[in-house]
């Protein structure tokens, strides 16, 4: 547990970076510090491993005042991941990952075998061990950065905008991986970002900072979306927070209706008979969706349903048909419906096979039910 007690950081020029911060970071959770530039989120993070010392106030790590610890020793027990990874250019990937164990006096062989395990854990092929950082992509470098921070198996991990310098697809990948790692490792993670979407995606708890280093709200992501404390938080959380809040509601029990399907390669006349409201989903041998076909489109096909000419489908809504429940959220279901050309979202099971369709209406009535049963805060 990390406790900030009335922590203030004031610079000699009078700038207040952090103003009387009181906050408790829970063990085994991801706590995200989010806010605009100059809100003191990074300063707060860097005070935890004494890269910056507070002007006043106390920070306790597992009940112990961190000022009593020698900074280098304190830092060896806290993983540290920064924006551009900060890998050592002159060392191989493997030796980068082995840095902290080597510093702590572990022998070279043990440190390297530990480093190799971590590379595997973060999804880096062992063929990269002998490469140098300059030979890696930004995303790969950041994976090495995470592996390096985890090498000494510290209970606490500090991550300062680790994914903000990589492109969106890679970022999504890294975020998923962090969540997967966390489900296995149960670290106490403090994560700084300026991206509210990232905060909501990753955080068990999110601390929103405002300029001047004041804590505006400290809550779970769903509560932050449903009940922003004030105008600053609601504007920071963003315009479509109502829509994004649907992501926290599971779509359990929403009715999945019939959906018209035709098999790729069927004769156009047969396909025409199957259309519902002028549309049908084209599926492959395993019943997986390939796209949509309409009456207009069918009239351009002579012999069979041509998979090259299909209208691409929207997002897929995954239900877990074996358990009778759902794996997706209301947001997934609604997005599937809204992004489909036929206004019917394709519901698929775990194998990707089409099991039915959902409409926006069913999602909205499920939302109304959740609201009346008090499942939605506010």
């Amino acid at each position: 547990m990390i406790e900030f007690q009335a922590v203030t950081k004031r610079y000699p020029d009078g700038t207040v970076a952090v103003d009387s911060l009181d906050l408790t970071v829970e063990d085994g959770r991801i706590t995200v510090f989010v806010g605009p530039s100059g809100c003191g989120k990074t300063t707060s993070l860097r005070m935890i491993n004494r890269m910056i010392d507070p002007t006043s106030g106390t920070i306790l790590l597992n009940g112990k005042d961190i000022r009593e610890s020698d900074p280098p020793l304190l830092r060896r027990g806290i993983g540290y991941v920064i924006q551009h990874a900060g890998l050592f250019p002159h060392r191989t990937v493997l030796d980068n990952v082995a840095t902290v164990p080597l510093l702590s006096g572990v022998d070279k062989r043990t440190a390297r075998s530990r480093a190799a395990e971590l590379m595997e854990l973060v999804g880096l092929p062992s063929t990269m061990a002998k490469r140098y950082p300059a030979q890696l992509s930004g995303g790969q470098q950041q994976r090495v950065g995470v592996a390096r921070a985890l090498a000494a198996d510290p209970p606490v991990l500090l991550m300062d905008e680790p994914f903000s310098a990589v492109d969106p697809i890679v970022r999504d990948d890294l975020q998923q991986q962090l969540l997967r790692l966390q489900s296995e490792l149960d670290k106490t993670i403090v994560f700084v970002t300026h991206d509210i979407d990232e905060a909501i995606k990753l955080g068990d708890r999110v601390a929103v900072f405002r300029v001047g280093g004041r804590l505006a709200q400290y809550d779970s992501p769903s509560a932050l979306l449903a009940k922003p404390a004030d105008d600053f938080v609601s504007s920071f959380v963003g315009r479509d927070r109502g829509y994004r809040a649907l992501g926290f509601l599971t779509a359990t029990g929403i009715p999945v209706g019939e959906v018209a399907t035709v098999r790729a390669g069927d004769a156009p006349e047969r396909a025409r008979e199957a259309l519902v409201d002028g549309w049908a989903v084209v599926v492959d041998e395993q019943n997986r969706p390939l796209g949509w076909v309409s009456a207009d489109l069918l009239s351009t096909m002579d012999k069979s349903v041509d998979t090259e000419a299909l209208v691409s489908g929207g997002s897929l809504f995954e239900v877990d048909s074996s358990a009778g429940g759902t794996a997706g959220s209301l947001r997934n279901a609604l997005d599937a419906a809204l992004s489909s050309p036929a206004a019917v979202g394709i519901a698929v099971d775990g194998t990707g096979a089409v099991v039915g369709g959902v409409t926006a209406d069913t999602v909205l009535s499920a939302l109304a039910d959740a609201r009346s049963s008090g499942e939605v805060p506010g």
Partner: protein, 240 residues
Amino acid sequence: MDQGRPGGEGVNSAFNWLFDPDHWSGPTGFPARILEHLGYTGLSVLIAALIAVPVGAVIGHTGRGTFLVAGLSNGLRALPELGLLTLLVLLTYVGLLPVVVSLVVLALPPVLAGTYAGVRNVDRSVVDAARGMGMRGPSVLWRVELPNALPLIVGGIRSATLQVIATATIAAYVSLGGLGRFVIDGNNAGPGSPDGYPQMAAGAVAVAALALTVEGVLALAQRLVVSPGLRATNLVGKNT
């Protein structure tokens, strides 16, 4: 006597002098003079590096005393070596010490500037990560900043070495050895003598050849000591 004349014949006579087997043996032959020359150079560059690398590294690491780097480099560069040597000889005695001091003064600025810039230019996020992982100041300098500064440090040493090889000819001016001997003796022999201009020219060619050879050796040494990770231009797959 034709040998003193400029033109094609003069060049020929210089090379004849240079490759004359009589000039390649004994204590006054080229091998002995080359060794003396390398001795002055090696000693001066070594002393300069022992002073400038630690000073440049500490200034670069702490960021304190930056003004010293610019001031010293420019100030020392402005000194004329021959004048300095004459002054030192007048103040002390004729011998190795004033020669080496003059050459050290020449070698200091490039090594100091290279080391300082090398350490200072290490990516700040790399230094931040090193500290954040629990390295103490000396470790950060020794294990992170210096290895990454090596290309510029070695660059400074190479540049200093070239300048010192060229300038070490002044040792002969105060009756010491080295390749400068041929230049000074040739000058003293006068234009008409077979050991005159041809000898001077042969000495100059030998200095240039020595400088190029040493430069090649140092370039190889740089490849050996600098981490392959820092030769980013030779690396592939940088942005995927």
